[in-house]
Symmetry: C2
Subunit: 271 residues, 2 copies
C-alpha cells in the first residue's frame, strides 16, 4: 500500500511541484520487526530538510501512524517518505499557501548478499561530479540527477557503489551513501558544505564515535588521501555500514575497526 496524504492511493497530481521541479525532500529508512529504525532521528532530519526548502513538515505523530500502516506490508523492508510542496499553478514561485503532499510507502529490502557487510564491497570512481549548490548542501531533496547519472555509469552487479567528487576533485560521497576514512586511529568524512547529502547514519556514526572516544572529523578529502586510508567505509540507513575491499586497482584487507564501527551502529540501534 502507498499512502498519499494518508489515503491508500497509487497516483498523484501531475501538477505536483515534486514532479514539476523536484520541489520536495525524502527519507529512506530500514524497517525491522515492522518498526522504522531510528525514526526520531529520521523525523528530525526530515523536519530540518523541510525547513531548508521552506516546506511545512507533516507532524511526527501523523507520519508515525502512516509508517506503521505501510510497514505491515514489508516488516523487514524499507520505508520511504516523500514531502513535496504540493500541486500548484505553473511557475517557479512557490504558492502563497502551499498544501504539501506526503507519500509514505514501503518496499521489499533488495536481497544483498549477507557477505557484503562481512567480506567488503567493490567500488569504483564515478566520472559524474556531484552537483554543487551551497543552499541545498546536506539536504536530501528530490533533485537527484547527479546520483542517477553517476549510478548509470556501471551495470556490473559486482560493483556495489560508485564514489563521487565535486568539480574540484574533492571526494563528497557515494551515489547512495556517505563515506568515512580510517587514518591511523582517526576517522574522517567529507565536509558537506557545498554539495552532498548528510545522511542519518553519517550523523549517528559521528555521534557514536564521539561517545566511544574515537576521533572523527569532517574535512576536505582528495582522491589520493582516500586511496591512502587504512580503511574506507560506506554508510546509509538501508545498508548500515560496508567496508570497501576494492576500489578499482586499490585493494584493502579486512580491518579490525570495521567490527567496532558496526558494533557502534548496532548499539542502541534505535537511537
Amino acid at each position: 500500500v502507498i499512502l498519499i496524504d494518508g489515503t491508500p492511493d497509487n497516483r498523484i497530481s501531475p501538477l505536483d511541484r515534486g514532479l514539476a521541479y523536484g520541489d520536495g525532500v525524502f527519507r529512506t529508512m530500514r524497517i525491522r520487526d515492522g518498526r522504522v529504525m531510528q525514526w526520531s532521528r529520521h523525523y528530525a532530519k526530515l523536519a530540518h530538510d523541510c525547513m531548508r526548502l521552506g516546506l511545512t513538515c507533516p507532524p511526527q505523530d501523523l507520519l508515525t501512524d502512516e509508517l506503521g500502516r505501510v510497514a505491515v506490508d514489508h516488516p523487514e523492508g524499507v520505508a520511504r517518505i516523500t514531502v513535496t510542496r504540493g500541486p500548484a499553478e505553473r511557475g517557479y514561485a512557490p504558492p502563497d499557501l502551499s498544501r504539501p503532499t506526503r507519500v509514505v510507502s514501503s518496499f521489499a529490502h533488495a536481497a544483498t548478499e549477507p557477505s557484503r557487510a562481512g567480506l567488503g564491497v567493490h567500488a569504483r570512481w564515478c566520472r559524474t561530479s556531484v552537483t554543487v549548490q551551497r543552499a541545498l548542501a546536506g539536504v536530501k531533496h528530490l533533485n537527484r540527477l547527479d546520483s542517477v547519472l553517476a549510478r548509470s555509469e556501471w551495470r556490473d552487479s559486482d560493483i556495489a557503489e560508485g564514489l563521487m567528487a565535486d568539480p574540484d576533485g574533492w571526494v563528497i560521497q557515494g551515489t547512495m551513501s556517505n563515506v568515512f576514512l580510517l587514518e591511523g586511529e582517526r576517522l574522517a568524512t567529507p565536509l558537506l558544505d557545498t554539495a552532498g547529502v548528510a545522511g542519518v547514519q553519517r550523523e549517528r556514526l559521528m555521534s557514536k564515535c564521539a561517545g566511544a572516544g574515537l576521533h572523527c572529523a569532517e574535512d576536505r578529502i582528495s582522491r589520493e588521501r582516500l586511496l591512502a586510508a587504512d580503511a574506507v567505509f560506506l554508510t546509509n540507513s538501508v545498508i548500515g555500514l560496508w567496508w570497501i575491499s576494492r576500489l578499482e586497482t586499490r585493494v584493502w584487507s579486512p580491518h579490525p575497526v570495521t567490527a567496532r564501527l558496526i558494533g557502534l551502529l548496532d548499539s542502541h540501534a534505535d537511537e
Copy 2:
C-alpha cells in the same frame, strides 16, 4: 485536459522517477491560435535533452497530436511537455528497460501587462546561486530547485525577474529566462557550459542575430560587466523578449535595438 501517455488523466504513479529523483526533462511553449509556436525547435531541444539523460524521446508525431488536443483548452495559452524515466523500483540505477512517462498539458497564459515588453521590466539579483553540474549544463531537466529557491527570494510583483550567478560570480541566467547584453553594437550571452538552461528563444535569437549581421557571442559575464551594458534583455518562450529598465539601483533608458530584436524574434515566428 492533461494527457498522461496520451490518455486524459490527472494522476501519475508516485513511483515515477520524475517524482522520486527529478529524473526527466520538460518544455514550456507558447500557444497562439491553437498552435504551439516553434514546435520543431522545441521538439529538437526535447529530443536532445532526453538524449543527455539517456531517455527515449517520444516520437514527434505523437506529441504533435497530443499538443493539438490540449491546445484546444487554451488556444492563446502555454503548453508543457514533461518526459520522465517512468515508474520503477526504488534505487538510483535506471531500470534496464524504462517506460518513459509523458505528460502533455496546457495552461492559461498568466496575464502579464502588455506594458512589460514595451516599458521594460524591473529585475533584481538573487542570492541563490545556480546549481553547478557540467553533465547537465544547458538541459531543461526536472531538477529545478535553484530556480525555485531564487524565485522565493521576492514577492514584490513589481519585480519581473531575478538574475542568478554561479558560485564564482559569473552571471548565468534569470530564474526563468536567458540573458543577453548589448555592448555597443554587439550582443553577449552567458556561456552555459557548467550550469543553466539553454532555452529555445536564446538559440533562436542567436541564430537570427547571425542572419541579420548582428554579432552575438557566448562569454563569461560578470555582474559588473552586465551593469555596464547598454541594454540587458531577457528571453524565454512564454515572454518572448523583455528589456530590463531597472536592476536594483541601475536604470536603463529604452534602447532602439530592443525593437529590432523583438522584430527578429517575430520574423518567421514559427521558425
